[in-house]
């Protein structure tokens, strides 16, 4: 167990690389600080308030020892002197009164300090949290505005981290980081000046010895950070292995290798222990070392002050005052190392947050496409005539998902898309909704390229029912109207009727006001589908995009869904990824996608007669669920 040895740089690097820890070169990045200051600017009043509180508090803190000194060197010293003179009988009353005045001043000063201490924390918290709440909303909105290709590349968990722990970390930056650090430096400077005015020789001794304290603190900081990082890394390895073994517990047990994994875990535990021993060693060394330096400073102070105290040149009250101030001075110096580490982790978070804010979404309304209200040349899209013209697309370079797909959706017609898994059906939907832009070719709505329409205005024409028909936490009503201004009480009611979702609502305890658990967990699959259809209908869309759910539901619900689907599609232009026989049968045209290409098109009967891909697919996907088979 070589916890006392410094690990070689190469060792450290290897371990850090293994852990994938990012190295932040320094704890200071001027550019980031600049941006942080700009973030803080709108809240400069709060910051100024904080500084004012800290300043007043500092003055009050200085006042306490000064009062004690004044009392001791004033009435108390005078009394002692007076008693020394045997000539007059000693009357302590005036001196006691003098002392009481100072006691009163001290009480007042203490009460004010208490108030300021309260404000120090409460106001500092407020300052940090207000700035952070602001930033959090901005980061959230920004992430939301990113295109789907960007989302595809990032796990949701890491995005959530940006608006939770990273932003929280920045709070530390504003409070214990920048503000406190800045103020600590001011305090240290002021205290040094005051110490010099009190007693230059003593102050010089303190100033001379202080670098040792700073040195110890900073040297420790480096070691402690490394050691902590190693501990964290090894702990996560340990937990990772535990998780791994738990997920493979069947293999472990059937292969009877419990002892083997236990030994392996023991080995990891030992590594973790060694890393811990190093931090314990550092801390066990650091605190006494720091105190030793402080005691040294104190001893030296007494030594140097000795002659002056004896000669009466240094009054005892001043010595006390000096002692208090030295204590006040040493605390922030001690904590420098700690602050440095806080700053460093906050900088890492700031970097990640700014990285997100600096990325621009690639799918955006084109510049000048619209006049603020979403109109193009004073026209809103009618959104009922769609054309795919030679559209190609890939999610990953070199892996084409769609190749040269062209078709037309005439106003009021239903286009059903069928194909095996991975044929490119969902991609058609993704492109039509402009979640992505095509790599080649173009899609037009009302004869105009999708990219030229205002994104919001365009999407307002759509009614969407997707597979992952998502319900948000909140009431059923909120989920249905989604805050759309154009959803009225009337349109909602009509939608519920047409979608057969009335029955679902009626069965809920509080009707429309019932709350939906996250991801619609309290509703059955069929009920969620009906609600999703109602949601689409409520917006009175001109263009419907429907990805039919494949999950099976009972026959009663099936009939309801069929009817609801009919009502949704009736008279509207619609693109449907069809999984239901009735849908393909009633479609005006069926597109058969295969390996990213549009291979067949026509009506149900035409395609069946061809005995091609559709005929096979039909047997595979629809025939067995078809009541018409009998």
């Amino acid at each position: 167990m070589k916890y006392w040895k410094r690990r070689s740089a190469a060792d450290k690097q290897r371990e850090n690389a293994e852990l994938g820890e990012e190295f932040v070169a320094g704890a200071w990045d001027t550019q980031i600080v600049g941006r942080l200051v700009r973030l803080a600017m709108p809240h400069r009043r709060l910051f100024l308030g904080t500084f004012a509180v800290l300043a007043v508090l500092f003055v009050l803190e200085l006042a306490g020892p000064w009062i004690i000194r004044s009392a001791i060197d004033g009435p108390v010293a005078d009394a002692i002197t007076a008693r020394g003179l045997d000539s007059i009988p000693f009357d302590s009353k005036p001196y006691i009164n003098g002392l009481l005045v100072w006691v009163l001043v001290y009480v007042i000063c203490s009460l004010m300090t208490v108030a300021m201490r309260y404000l120090e924390v409460a106001h500092l918290t407020k300052t940090g949290q207000v700035v952070v709440a602001d930033l959090r909303s901005r980061v959230f909105s920004h992430i939301q505005s990113m295109d789907l290709a960007w989302f595809d590349k990032r796990p949701t968990g890491s995005l959530v981290t940006r608006v939770t722990s990273d932003v929280e970390n920045l709070n530390e930056m504003f409070t214990s980081g920048l503000v406190t650090l800045a103020f600590d430096l001011v305090r240290i400077a002021f205290l040094l000046v005051i110490l010099f005015t009190l007693h230059a020789k003593l102050a010089f001794v303190v100033l001379l010895l202080m670098p040792i304290l700073i040195g110890v603190s900073l040297a420790f900081r480096g070691g402690a950070r490394d050691a902590h990082r190693t501990v964290r890394g090894r702990l996560s390895k340990l937990n990772g292995y535990l998780q791994e073994v738990l997920s493979g517990i069947r293999v472990v047990q059937v292969f009877r290798q419990e002892h083997k994994v236990s030994q392996r875990f023991g080995g990891l535990l030992n590594q973790y222990l060694t890393a811990n021993l190093r931090t314990i060693f550092l801390f066990a060394l650091f605190f006494p070392a720091l105190d030793l330096v402080v005691n040294g400073i104190q001893g030296a102070t007494v030594w140097v002050a000795g002659a002056d105290i004896s000669s009466g040149e240094l009054r005892i009250g001043v010595f006390f005052q000096f002692w208090f101030y030295v204590t006040m001075l040493l605390n922030p110096v001690r904590e420098l190392g700690e602050r440095y580490n806080v700053l460093q982790s906050a900088f890492a978070s700031a970097e990640r947050v700014f990285q997100v804010l600096d990325t621009k979404p690639s799918v955006e309304s084109s510049m000048g496409a619209s006049t603020g209200n979403g109109l193009v040349n004073g026209k809103a899209p009618a959104g009922n005539h769609v054309r795919f013209e030679g559209v190609s697309f890939d999610y990953l370079d070199g892996v084409p998902v769609l190749e040269d797909v062209s078709f037309e959706m005439k106003p009021g017609e239903t286009t059903a898309v069928v194909g095996a898994t991975g044929a490119g059906k969902s991609t058609l939907v993704n492109l039509l909704l402009r979640f992505y832009d095509p790599k080649a070719g173009r899609i037009t709505v009302d004869g105009r390229d999708l990219r030229d329409w205002d994104l919001k205005a365009l999407r307002r024409c759509f009614g969407i029912v997707l597979q992952e028909d998502f319900l948000f936490a909140g009431t059923v009503r909120e989920n249905l109207d989604l805050g759309r201004e154009d959803v009225t009480e009337e349109s909602l009611e009509l939608a519920l009727e047409a979608s057969r979702a009335e029955l679902v609502i009626d069965a809920l305890p509080d009707g429309l006001a019932s709350s939906v658990a996250e991801r619609g967990a309290t509703l059955s699959t069929g009920e969620r589908q009906l609600l999703a259809i109602a949601r689409a209908l409520a917006g009175q869309p001109s263009l419907v995009v429907l990805d039919e759910a494949t999950a099976s539901v009972d026959s009663g619900t099936e009939a309801q869904i069929e009817e609801a689907t009919g009502n949704l599609l009736g008279g509207r232009t619609a693109l449907v990824i069809a999984h239901r026989l009735s849908t393909v049968r009633n479609a005006d045209q069926i597109l058969v996608m295969h390996h990213g290409k549009l291979r067949e098109r026509g009506t149900h009967d035409e395609l069946l007669a061809k005995h091609g891909i559709y005929a096979k697919l039909y047997r595979l996907q629809f025939a067995e669920h078809s009541p018409a088979r009998t």
């Binding site: 340990l238 069947r250 236990s262 005892i316």
Partner: protein, 564 residues
Amino acid sequence: MLAAGVACIPLSSLGDIWITLMIGDALDRLRLGSDTAFLRGFFWLLMAVAMARGVFRYLQRWWIVCVSRFVEIRLKQDLFDKLVSLPWSFHTQSRSGDIVSRVTSDVENVRMFLGPGVMYTLGAVIMVPVSMAYLFGLQPWLAAGMVIPLLAMGFGMRALSPRLHRDSTAVQESLAEIGTRAQETFSGVRIVKGYGREEQQSRRFDESSKKNLGHQLSLGRARGITHAITYGAKDLTFLPILLVGGWAMIERSFPAGDVFKAIDLTFKVFWPIIAVGWMAGIYPRAVASAKRIEELLATASDVVDPPAPVRLANVRGELSLRAVSFAFPGAARPALENIEVQVPAGSVLGIVGPTGSGKSTLLHTLARLYESQGEVQLDGHPIRTLALADLRGALGYVPQDSFLFSDTWRENVSFGLERALSDPELDLLTRNACMRGDVARFPNGYDQLIGERGVTLSGGQRQRTCIARALARDPRVLILDDALSAVDTETESELVDNLRHAGKGRTVILAAHRLSTVRHADQILVLVQGRVQARGTHEQLLAREGWYRETWQRQQTQAELAAL
């Protein structure tokens, strides 16, 4: 070690007090007249005491905290061994994330109490009474006056602690809500964007954020009060020093050195008192955690060796299931119902059926991962009467999820053995598992790291690695749980052949979704909803109408379609 560490606590605390007293006495002495020799002597004595105190403090921390870490390691190892020994039924009921956090945070709570907790409390227990007793001896009124603010602080903190707890819980909850909102929006981004609901989501997010802000501010105020009380108490302790000390100095010439002692000791008892408050906070958590740990350690496994197991020397590999049923706790219908099968040694049994029909569960009962009803027999002995080591020693198992460790390929394949396999042994296994070409392409050959930190294997490669791992034990009964699904059809038939012939007379049990996998099996079971719906050979089952034929036709069509 713990005792030695504890013994260091009073030594270092008393050293600390001694330093204060020395300085105080020196001040009084100096007022009578300066003396270089005295000063020099004073300084070096002070440094010596400080040094000794430093050493004791070092030892105290080192020993006590180390002991707490040893306890942590021990607890973690015990918990790990326990978890590994618990049956599969325990693991299916608890999420592994929960268990990991229990092992981590509960053990940490206990450790915090045993290590730093004990250390700080004992420190305070020495420091505070001794300092107070000394000051009481100097000036009873002064000491009494100092105790009041300190007590007031203690009570104030106690009164505030429910509010602090409430506020910080509220902050945590509202932070969690923010996380949930973000999660919801980011994972439902298609609907959000599709309906152009970005603004609404932002508004809702802001609401949660505002709520959090409110709780944060409330917590900030509570912390502010705590902070004010703590430091206010400290400031007020100087009040009796000033009042009583000053008064006494005026009346009876109370020496200035004693005033110094009172001041300096105040600084020194302050932190230990706060530490005790902190300790009072973590104690209940540590107790609760210790209880949970004990509970887990006391969980009994229902899958254990029988008291007098039947020893099996040479396993033939004949399996028979008699009226085997199994239901998951709380499940509405049984996962397996009345399964009857005879599997002669050396034959191949195929198990097919729709998802959720009980295929995996049936395989689990064979390995006694679950305790089932009815009887499973190996070579005519009920498996409950066999030692687990004998039963499982006879089995080779390839799990459905193709679980592999992030380790080298060699280590993974050698997992079931006590030693690492040699290259020639691995050559044979790779041939039988149809893995030769793949391994040849690994940059580091057999010693290639796989998993997160190494190369990522394809689904088929993972499955074949798992097969190699099972074959390495040369088992008499080989169980494959849909373990060929990602292997292409050509390799599949070669593999199935190898599995049978490589281990002369080996019994093979194949569960599969793809019917081509079991095509050549001696006997095929069709499981539907936990019951045997049909059985027979491939040809027999095809001749009958039913799930098997229908599925076979669909899968054929699918294959044709994919080939277009």
